[in-house]
Point group: C2
Chain length 109, copies 2
């Protein structure tokens, strides 16, 4: 009965999108998504870090250890050219699906 904190299958897209505004560390990405969505979408650590590993593995992001403004070590993720392209693909597929679902839901009962 438990509902997911986000719509499955959309996390990679949300992360990639967040990174278009510049490199960020994982924790920052999670905060950004939470804030931009007005607290509707929450990314748990157990979802976030595996997702970042996936993105690294596909070459859609690059990672680099740096210090944050708060003087902590953190791993900053940066969107690659391939990642930018992938984001476009995912967004357009997502929109196509949403439109299709909208058509089904719009039917008169």
């Amino acid at each position: 009965m438990k509902k997911s904190d986000l719509l499955p299958g959309t996390l990679d897209m949300l992360i990639l999108k967040t990174l278009t505004r510049g490199a960020q560390h994982g924790y920052g990405v999670a905060l950004s998504i939470k804030r931009l969505s007005d607290d509707v979408l929450t990314v748990e650590e157990g979802s976030l870090y595996p997702a970042l590993q996936r993105l690294l593995l596909q070459g859609w992001v690059k990672a680099e250890w740096k210090m944050t403004e708060t003087n902590r070590r953190a791993r900053f993720y940066k969107l690659t050219a391939a990642g930018k392209k992938q984001l476009g693909v995912e967004v357009s597929q997502f929109e196509q699906m949403i439109d299709a679902i909208g058509r089904v839901l719009a039917e008169q009962s």
Copy 2:
């Protein structure tokens, strides 16, 4: 790399919605979703029947064996009052999520 035929987490909602137009058998539900979505959404048998079992178990649909117009035995699923209510809940949660994702995607990069 393989993309899902539908957005995970939306199947139950789509089935319930389809049944608001009257009782249907599983195969008919799958065809309806495919047709209404202009072939964008495809429900595989391996997703459909487990989903119908779930819905039965929750009491959101009832099942009854009948004959189709094509003279075959088929199991017709009918939305219950609880199912109708559940559909409302799922649709509103879904729309909330879509809006939230939209806000994230709308951000200037």
